[in-house]
Amino acid sequence: MRNVAVVGVGQTKFGEHWDKSIRDMIIEAGLAAVRDAKIERGDVQSLFIGCMSSGRYAGQEHLGALAADSLGMRVPATRFEGACASGSLAFRNAYVDVASGRHDCAIVIGAEKMTDVKGPEAITSLAAAGDQEWEAAIGLTFAGLYALMARKHMNDFGTTREQLAMVSVNNHKNGVANKNAQFRMPISVDDVLKSSIVADPLRLLDCSPITDGAAALVIMSENLAKKAANPVWILGSGQGSDTIALHDRASFTEMAATRTAAKEALSEAKININDLNMIEVHDCFSINEIIALEDLGFCEKGKGGRFVEDGNIDINGKIPVNTTGGLKAGGHPVGATGVRQAIDIVRQLRGDSCNQLKNPLYGMNLNVGGSGATAVVNIFGREMKQ
């Protein structure tokens, strides 16, 4: 396996794009990434796209071909689907493709167009990320699944309603400076506690929104990337699987897939979790950020709420989390989220983030599919792995 770097990034604004189709957004993000990489479209040798449900949201499948055609890249093009982790699956497989020596330059795209259907339809489509026979069919939505996890976490560990709210407050605070974010207003704990109930104990401001958006990045092999202006190196990648249905798990408050993915990625990167300078985690619902902090090893199981309350995830805290707003404030166009997370880590490492940290060396993103059945972790560094 050879070293691989991200050399260009691009994305659409995340939000409600009433006048853009999924094709429009793929073109916008894809060309932005190509321009940022200062390459020609013809330099790209393979294309990887992550998308969860374009068939249900936009009536469009065969997204690999659509993206390759629309971007004018007649290269092998493949779509990856792993619910909300689709974007990171595409990224991880592109990384393997280039690292293996099969291709020298690949483009990774994540896209989802969610607002062409009504809210209830979007929720039904999202529920397909769970177990259709055992969860969705009895009416369990994703807010419902994460509400069960939140309730159990509160019961077992004394996690408070306020601590959950603090997760959203931090994400919104970080989103204000992000011009690509869907929501750029700060919120208070009180705002979260007073927002309408979605699935007890989760309220509206605990939940990431329905979003349109696309994100793309260009990766290159070591020999090519060395000549690039500002490469950010991919140090490791891990992927884990768990039962698709929540009720089949040994624990409601732990994601084994996250642990598996993180272990693999850290081992490949040859770094320790505490070496990281910032992380992007999958805050589809506030409780998931708390569970992620525990499973990644930033604190003990059950102490995530306290960890958040103590200010550790603040931009100036021990481990800045979701420095550009996360899924909650930034928006969650499902298939694009994993790629967007990678972009925001890359921007921090190359020094052009909207909330720039001082000289970070390492960053990680955790992208979770469904209620934790798929998890992908990628680790990035400013320096190449020796």
Partner: protein, 345 residues
Amino acid sequence: MNVGIVGYGAYVPRFRIKVEEIAKVWNGNAQAIKEGLFVEEKSVPDGDEDTITISVEAARNALARAGIPGSKIGALYIGSESHPYAVKPSGTVVAEAIGAVPNVMVADFEFACKAGTAAMQVCSALVRAGDIEYGMAIGADTSQGRPGDALEYTASAGGAAFVIGRDPLATIDATCSFTTDTPDFWRREGRDYPSHGARFTGEPAYFTHLLGAVNMLLEKTKMSAKDFDYVAFHTPNGKFPLRAAKMLGIDKEKLMPGLIVTKIGNTYSGASPLALTALLDIAKPGQKILMCSYGSGAGGDAFALTVTDRIEERRNKAPSTMSYVNKKHYVDYGTYVKLRRKLKE
């Protein structure tokens, strides 16, 4: 001589239902709904009230202010999305009731919530062309909201009528429309209740078209939004028009006197016309009024009006809009369901 509004008239049914009463039945958070929509209660038509009866009441008030007999009306157009008949005009019944028949042009208009202002544009054009001396433009609705739907908190009943002619109490200085094919809200033939595109009804529908029409008008008249003393925008709820005004840099106080939506709900085709009547009830000669309707489907009709000296002598010849708004009798949800014929066998 200038063309404009010679007489105006309002009508709002006296029954009201509170947001709390509806929320109680559907387990809604009344306080949150009231704050979210900026609507407290809505009007409910009696069992025998419909777009036709509302139009007759409003038209009679408009004739009283204009000081002319119905026989002088050369054209009568009613804009509504709840015409009682799918085939057979509302307008003929109203024309007969006010004595405008038989020498009168009549047709029913439909453009969601803005057909009433479309009727004003057509009447104004016919008067300017010299084809008629007076036209009657009416916007009225008994709008429908599916039980349990968000629309049920606002869909109400009411209407306003305008006699358009020369020697007006308010001149129509300019009007224009901003129209596109935007499917934000619709009701198909034979369906009892409309469908809507949820959040799509905001930015790409209401705001794009209403602001589009207003900006078009400002460009056409070389005026600034600040030049107007009062503003009446379509009121699907209380929040949208306030936000639109803010986006245009218009003082909230210029909108508030016409913001009767908080007390009577969304009267659809009657909404911006009724808001205009409330403003005409208080405006002084020389003051300028900006009105803009919004109709789903979609479009906005913007008007620049100037109140004339005639306003003082005609204003008190019919009941004020606020007298209708304030005359009310509360009903419970059961009575509301009966009056609105929501019970099916």
